[in-house]
Every structure is written in structure tokens, then in C-alpha cells.
């Protein structure tokens, strides 16, 4: 599994390439921890090249959800294939983690959420 980290405008993007399992999830966990400490408010997870995920990989996301909420960080996953969306669905996590089809959808979601939040 390989991770590529980049920044586009205000968006911190982590691209996952390969299989995210018990032997590789620590890399994602570290990348998410690093992203959160950069003070970004917008984390995009590019899953278009994510071929497989098991519970340690999912746990890397769920264990950071509360911290993201506490720090007003919005994390959005996009580009997941049907098999992987189904795994999130079985756990009911498709209702708790924001999943979008494309990078543009993910950016629009974050922009709208931050705009709405700024109004209140």
C-alpha cells in the first residue's frame, strides 16, 4: 500500500493506493494524525486506487472522527469502488462518514458545509 499526500488550495489530500489491511493501516493512521496537526480544516481521502479494505483500515478513519469534529475538521472520502462502499454499509458507517463519488463532489460538500457554518 502506498500513500500520496498533496495539497490543493485549502484541501489536504491523502491518496490511498493498494490494499489497506492490518499490515498497512498504521501508515494511514500516521498520515491522518499528521494531517490533523497541520491545522487544515479540509481533509480529502482519495480512494479511487484503494483496492481492498479491512477493519484496521476502517478503524484508522473511525478513530479520528471525533477528533475531526472537535477541531472542526471535515473529512470526506471519495472515489470508493462498490465493494468498498458495501463494507462501510455493512457496518453502518456510510451514515457516519461522508462518502462522495468524485473529488469535485467532495470539495463542493466541504465548501457548502464551511459556508453554512460561517453563517451561524
Amino acid at each position: 500500500m502506498e500513500l500520496k499526500v498533496s495539497n490543493e488550495e485549502k484541501f489536504h489530500i491523502i491518496q490511498i493506493i493498494g490494499d489497506l489491511d492490518a499490515s498497512s493501516s498504521i501508515l494511514l493512521d500516521n498520515a491522518l494524525e499528521e494531517a490533523i496537526t497541520t491545522n487544515t480544516k479540509s481533509i480529502l481521502i482519495d480512494c479511487a486506487e484503494l483496492h481492498y479494505i479491512s477493519s484496521p483500515g476502517i478503524g484508522a478513519f473511525t478513530s479520528r472522527l471525533e477528533e475531526c469534529i472537535e477541531k472542526n475538521i471535515i473529512m470526506v472520502l471519495f472515489g470508493l469502488n462498490d465493494k468498498i462502499v458495501n463494507v462501510f454499509r455493512i457496518l453502518g458507517l456510510d451514515q457516519l462518514i461522508v462518502i462522495k463519488i468524485s473529488k469535485d463532489d467532495a470539495k463542493d460538500y466541504i465548501n457548502d458545509a464551511q459556508f453554512t457554518s460561517a453563517l451561524h
Binding site: S55, P56, I58, G59, A60, T62, N86, L91
Partner: protein, 141 residues
């Protein structure tokens, strides 16, 4: 026909186990989703055994067997350990609670229980067999 694979207890071998299960299932006309879910359930159970029962000791091994009988896939995971964990007694935790507590574990066995139709555990003098059953509709296997 029974397919079988034995590997040392390292996390790096999980990928080999997944390839093995995928290969064993590839001779049946299964959807990508069904195949992925069965691979996932076996991966989760093997990861649990390798990490918690065998502490990733590469001198110890687990064996995975796959067969198909009358529209049902039967997976057996064999290992030698005195681990007292019993999957049958495992109560599924609340997902929201896992998130609130910032835990990054506990979801693997939820997946196993939700994916598989039936689970049996056999223990005999330190030799353990976990048997998992998955039935699929006629025509898909």
C-alpha cells in the same frame, strides 16, 4: 474439492491468505461483492488469530481450508493455541460507541458475524478449528 493453505503467523501473510481465498472462489460464478465479503471475513478472522492469539510469531502457523458443498462455502481456520477467545460468545459492540471512544479496533469480528451465515468453533487439546459457513443463492456457486 478442498483447497488448503498454511502460512506462518505474520501480518504480511494476510495478503497471501486473501489471494488464496480469491483463487479458491474464482472457479465459481460469484459476484465481485460476494467474493470480496468472503475474503474479508477470512482476512479478519486470520488477522485476529495472528495478532491476538499468536502475537505475530512467525514460528507458529495457521491453516485455511476452503470447500463448497451444496451451494454453501465452508471455510476452516486451523491453529494451535491456548487462546480462550470464543467468537461465538463475542457480543457485537455498538459502532457509535467505538467511534466515541476513538477505538480503531473491534470492527473486524462485527464484519465476520454480519457476513457469514453460521460459525462453529471446535477445540481439542490446543488444536482449534473455526468453521465458517456462507450460503449463496442457486446459480451463483
Amino acid at each position: 474439492m478442498m483447497h488448503s493453505l498454511q502460512v506462518p503467523c505474520t501480518k504480511e501473510n494476510l495478503k497471501e491468505i486473501r489471494y488464496f481465498v480469491e483463487g479458491a472462489l474464482s472457479r465459481y460464478n460469484l459476484s465481485a461483492n460476494d467474493t470480496n465479503l468472503m475474503i474479508l471475513a477470512i482476512d479478519e478472522l486470520c488477522a485476529n488469530l495472528i495478532i491476538h492469539s499468536h502475537q505475530c510469531n512467525q514460528d507458529e502457523c495457521i491453516e485455511v481450508k476452503v470447500k463448497n458443498e451444496d451451494q454453501t462455502f465452508i471455510f476452516e481456520i486451523h491453529d494451535q493455541s491456548n487462546d480462550s477467545f470464543n467468537l461465538l460468545e463475542y457480543k457485537i459492540p455498538d459502532i457509535q460507541q467505538i467511534i466515541n471512544e476513538k477505538r480503531n479496533g473491534s470492527m473486524g469480528l462485527i464484519l465476520v458475524k454480519r457476513i457469514m451465515d453460521d460459525i462453529e468453533v471446535e477445540r481439542n487439546d490446543g488444536h482449534n478449528i473455526c468453521r465458517l459457513y456462507k450460503s449463496l443463492p442457486q446459480g451463483s456457486c
